[in-house]
């Protein structure tokens, strides 16, 4: 009797509303390492998957944006915990996807986990930095607070499959938005794994939706979708200008990264935290 086992092959699926469906279209595509080795068949998200994901993100918005900042921080920190326990798997796929050696890929995973913890820590500090009390000439107390923009479409970077993905998605989540993210087209697997761990990290269904697919196909759908409130064009490539124009027809907030924003190893700063917040200003009478 042979000791050889059958391969248990994995299907890399989408994350929509806390579930892991295949694409509505039934399509999938083959993902290879940068050296050309087969890595897996990945769901190829369609226009209608975007539609479903946006519905899920919209439905999840009130609960996530209404959660306390402290609670959001705990949930995001939990993602870091989960990633820590699966770091070797992440490192292996990052290494294969981005042709890195072991040491380099471990270092990317370390940076990613640290980045998650960084944004988890920011959840209850954003209001102090971006908000504050305003001096006014009258018997009023006047203060400004940052509030989430809403449903954010994120075209994740094409090169940095894990660190870049996390660095684009987490700041939008940290300030209370819900996200529909399109992963890197050729390097989607680390993002798909990240989606899997959010299921055990208490991230409420619909808060983070991850679609693997083609940015030039899904980007225009997100950009023209009226129920998407913001668009991160990091992974849009040459399409960024067109998509920004499309986004303008429904008055979306758009984030177009500068070269500085694309250095994933640099200190992230607060640019991305500021990208998708709206400032609400409240006047309140001062009592005696």
């Amino acid at each position: 009797m042979s000791n050889e086992r059958l391969d248990v092959r994995k299907t890399y699926k989408l994350l929509i509303n806390g579930a892991f469906p295949r694409s509505e279209s039934g399509r999938s595509y083959e993902v290879t390492s940068s050296a050309g080795a087969f890595l897996g068949n990945v769901s190829w998200a369609s226009r209608k998957d975007v539609r479903e994901a946006v519905i899920a993100a919209r439905a999840a918005l009130s609960k996530w944006s209404g959660a306390t900042a402290y609670n959001r921080g705990q949930v995001l920190y939990r993602i870091a915990e989960m990633m820590e326990s699966r770091r070797d798997e992440f490192a292996a796929y990052v290494a294969a996807s981005e042709s890195l050696n072991d040491r380099e890929s471990q270092s990317v995973v370390n940076e990613t986990i640290d980045r998650i913890v960084w944004y988890a820590g920011w959840t209850d500090k954003v209001a102090q930095v971006l908000g504050g009390t305003n001096p006014v000439a009258g018997p009023f107390f006047n203060f400004s607070i940052p509030t989430p923009t809403g449903v954010i479409g994120v075209l994740a970077p094409q090169d940095s499959s894990l660190l870049g993905f996390v660095s684009s998605v987490l700041p939008a989540l940290a300030v209370g938005n819900t996200v529909v993210a399109v992963s890197s087209e050729r390097r989607p697997i680390p993002a798909v794994l990240l989606g899997e761990i959010t299921a055990t990290a208490d991230v409420p269904a619909g808060v983070l939706n991850i679609l693997s697919g083609v940015a030039s196909e899904l980007g225009p759908v997100l950009a023209t979708h009226e129920d998407v409130d913001g668009l991160d064009l990091t992974g849009a490539g040459d399409l960024a200008g067109t998509l920004a124009a499309d986004a303008a027809t429904s008055i979306k907030r758009v984030f177009r990264p500068t070269a500085l924003d694309l250095d994933w190893s640099a200190s992230p700063g607060t640019r991305r935290l500021r990208a998708f917040v709206e400032t609400s200003t409240v006047w309140h009478t001062v009592g005696q």
């Binding site: 539609r51 946006v54 759908v221 023209t224 979708h225 009226e226 129920d227 027809t249 429904s250």
Partner: protein, 336 residues
């Protein structure tokens, strides 16, 4: 109130004494049923419904793909088939007025959107709805006969109907006595429908079978025939007040019933699917079932309706999507 309604089938002691020459039902549709015995023969002669087959049939019809031109035409058709409904304890005159405004111009930003078929309200709000709608083509439908349970005496039910008609209702949605139906007192149910039909006068009568409480598709088929034989102008699935409302297999069985009834008698009876239909996708699936079961003659608001409220917004969203190519924000359209 004087007892102006004869209820011949209730006097069951001697079916033959009920007088077979009495004509029940709609004027256009002389009923052939003269006694409880005849009713039992007519309903007992119906074949059983193959539930598995019905489910498979609707599942296969649900996968039909529609070309874009067809889809656009059907979205508009579906809008014209809607009975825009509000049947809540907290209905206010303001809510009914805004419902009527929406019925007339579902999308104020797009004059090419057609009006809906009717607004559906409780009897006490009928006159308000009629006044607000003026002499437009939008009809006022009213639920009556102690909606939704139907648990009241016959006199109360008839008074309910007469008041609604007097207030200006063009269509009456009555509920059948499901308790009587399920316990086999079909004659009683039949007589009630006959009496209500008479009280309706010129108003159209929709008979709500409340299929969610009828348990089996066999019962749905029987109740459909019973209602049609008794003079219903429309048969309607549900009140929307019980957990199970319109489902595709139920509507399939009802459409088969109206088709067979038309073959038998030449009279076309309408079908109204009500409750639980919230998306344009579902509505289009129902229209495919209508076309493939009863036939294209039923693809008109005169013979097919949707009882719904939130469906209208989804139809408007899909319509706008077809027009512009971009997905539309739900809050572009007014809520209920």
């Amino acid at each position: 109130m004087a007892n102006v309604v004869t209820l011949p089938l209730c006097s069951q002691s001697s079916p033959s004494s009920t007088g077979a020459d009495i004509v029940f039902g709609a004027p256009h549709q002389p009923s052939r049923i003269g006694s409880e015995t005849e009713l039992r023969v007519a309903l007992g002669g119906l074949s059983g419904v193959d539930t598995v087959g019905a489910n498979a049939r609707v599942a296969s019809l649900g996968t039909r793909s529609l070309k874009q031109g067809t889809k656009r035409a059907l979205l508009d058709l579906a809008i014209t088939m809607i009975d825009l409904t509000t049947l809540e304890g907290n209905d206010t005159p303001g809510k009914v007025r805004s419902l009527c405004a929406k019925a007339l111009r579902p999308d104020p930003s797009d004059p090419t959107v057609p009006s809906v078929a009717a607004v559906c309200v409780y009897p006490d709000l009928v006159s308000l709805a009629r006044t607000t709608l003026g002499d437009s083509s939008v009809a006022v439908a009213s639920v009556a006969t102690a909606f939704p349970s139907g648990r009241a005496s016959m006199n109360v039910k008839l008074a309910d109907v007469r008041e609604a008609v007097a207030a200006g209702a063009n269509e009456i949605d009555m509920v059948i006595d499901r308790g009587a139906f399920l316990s086999g007192r079909w004659g009683l149910v039949f007589d009630e429908i006959v009496a209500v039909k008479e009280a309706c006068g010129s108003a159209h009568l929709k008979v709500i079978l409340e299929t969610g409480e009828l348990v089996t598709l066999d019962n749905v088929r029987r109740a459909s025939w019973l209602a049609m034989l008794a003079g219903a102008d429309f048969i309607k699935t549900s009140t929307g007040k019980v957990p199970v409302a319109a489902t595709p297999p139920v509507v399939l069985v009802m459409l088969e019933a109206v088709r067979d009834f038309a073959e038998d008698t030449g009279v076309l009876i309408g079908v109204k699917a009500a409750g639980g239909i919230r998306t344009a996708k579902d509505a289009l699936k129902y229209l495919v079932i209508v076309n493939e079961t009863a036939g294209s003659a039923w693809l008109t608001p005169d013979l097919y309706r949707f009882g719904a409220s939130s469906l209208l917004n989804d139809l408007l969203m899909q319509r706008a999507k077809q027009k512009s190519g971009a997905y539309v924000r739900p809050d572009r359209f007014s809520g209920d």
